[in-house]
């Protein structure tokens, strides 16, 4: 079990080289392009990943989404940290 604390509110993440977020216009889906595969992302994930710009911290992203969706910050934080930790673990994102 790896330490999940590597992604925290102060972490600044961006897509690793060879990975990017893209809207698939033909199928109307959000996808992440990766070496020799593309995977579909759904639900709140596209909203979260669109905010990764290499400057905003994870905490900034949580705050921005909490404001936009008028949702409790701790609920948003849980979703954002889970998604970003998972994608960092898979080397799709990096610090």
């Amino acid at each position: 079990m790896r330490d999940q604390s590597c992604v925290a509110e102060e972490t600044v993440l961006s897509f690793a080289r060879g990975h990017r977020l893209q809207h698939d216009r033909v199928r109307d889906l959000w996808i992440v392009q990766a070496p020799e595969k593309a995977f579909v992302i759904e639900g709140s994930a596209p909203h979260i990943l669109r905010l990764l710009d290499g400057e905003r911290s994870v905490g900034d992203i949580i705050q921005k989404l909490a404001n936009e969706f008028s949702a409790p910050r701790e609920v948003i934080a849980k979703d954002v940290l889970a998604l970003l930790s998972e994608l960092t673990e898979k080397n799709v994102l990096h610090t």
Partner: protein
């Protein structure tokens, strides 16, 4: 009528020309000459049409795609069209200036092929003296550029015992991914099957070596097994005309790179029809699409939408009829032909090299 779902990937075979002459080359036995190749405008149009149709990733392949002087221009266009670009190369024509130009054009990923880990093994397969050193130099340049890299090793009877050394080389060269792909037996590979097909014991050792390496972590591993030793077929290309489209150097559009052996059907060309028309309406793309074409035992099989009846080219090559169940399936009445091929693979027959 509902249109079929659009393709996800385009394999753009820019040329069949290549400095190597591997006896398992995925190009057809009838190679297309330079004079027949699409020009730059032709390939630009293919990329534009592919993006419009819904393709997400383009794999620039060959032959050796770096033999085309317009590769950088095509990569730049792919980037502009938001197509993820992958270069499938032997690396022997790569140098620092060319890599920098590809990097600037926005190339997303490189798949670099190795024929073996030993110089002698590599030269026996590729037939090009000094290729191994050039490939290692290419891998170091790619690593230094930061472009994500997959090393691809095609394995067979002669090199399959060296899989652990292949992983060691991949780690040493800093590859993020490794593909260990057992030879597929079509075209040139089928011609050389008796020399290349590994024994069941060799396959078990290979699979164990892959599992051992996976357990170490830190390296993403793709393992393509040889289906001659399986009893259920692979879902070839994710189903005929479902996810994948191949354009040959001369502009022929195929559901897979081996499909030109299919008899009694016209092979549509992007010089005559649009890619979308070919994908949606051509007899070639519709002949084995979905499940309506299936004979028994596929028709009533619970797995028919998992393996899509297996590979049409393999059915043709081994049973004489492309519309038969892939004989790799133990339910196929022709499965004994696969077992016979495994039993008859021999120690050291001569290799037939790919030549123009």
């Amino acid at each position: 009528m509902t249109l079929p779902s659009p393709p996800m990937s385009l394999l753009a075979e820019l040329t069949h020309r290549c400095p190597l002459s591997c006896p398992y080359c995925s190009n057809p036995l009838e190679l297309e000459r330079k004079a027949a190749e699409l020009d730059t405008a032709g390939w630009r149009s293919v990329l534009e049409q592919a993006a419009e149709l819904g393709v997400l990733q383009v794999h620039f392949s060959g032959g050796e795609p770096m033999a085309r002087p317009d590769l950088v221009e095509l990569v730049a266009l792919a980037r502009k069209l938001n197509l993820y670009s992958n270069l499938i190369t032997s690396g022997v024509l790569l140098d620092e200036a060319k890599l920098e130009a590809l990097d600037k054009a926005g190339l997303d990923h490189i798949q670099l092929s190795f024929q073996d880990v030993t110089e002698a093994g590599a030269e026996r397969i590729g037939g090009l003296k000094g290729a191994q050193a050039r490939k290692i130099a290419a891998a170091r340049l790619i690593r230094a550029s930061g472009i994500p890299m997959t090393l691809n090793f095609v394995v067979h009877r002669e090199n399959v015992a060296r899989i652990p050394e292949m992983f060691a080389l991949a780690r040493e060269l800093g590859a993020g991914r490794v593909e260990i792909a057992h030879t597929q037996y079509y075209g040139w590979g089928l011609k050389n099957r008796d020399a290349l097909l590994p024994s069941r014991e060799q396959l078990q050792d290979a699979t164990r070596a892959v599992e051992t390496e996976r357990a170490k972590g830190g390296l993403s591993i793709d393992y393509v097994t040889p289906d001659y030793h399986a009893d259920r077929p692979k879902p070839c290309m994710g189903g005929w005309g479902q996810r994948f489209v191949n354009v040959t150097p001369s502009g022929r559009v195929l559901p897979c790179h081996a499909a030109e052996i299919i008899p009694d059907v016209a092979f549509p060309n992007v010089q005559d029809r649009t890619l979308s028309d070919i994908w949606n309406c051509s007899p070639l793309f519709n002949m084995f699409r979905g499940t309506d074409w299936m004979p028994e035992p596929c028709r009533s099989c619970a797995r028919k939408e998992q393996d899509w009846g297996g590979c049409r080219c393999q059915a043709l090559a081994l049973t004489g009829n492309a519309a038969n169940t892939d004989p790799v399936c133990s339910l196929s009445p022709f499965h004994d032909r696969v077992e016979k091929a495994v039993a008859e693979a021999s120690e050291k027959p001569e290799l037939v090299y790919r030549r123009f």
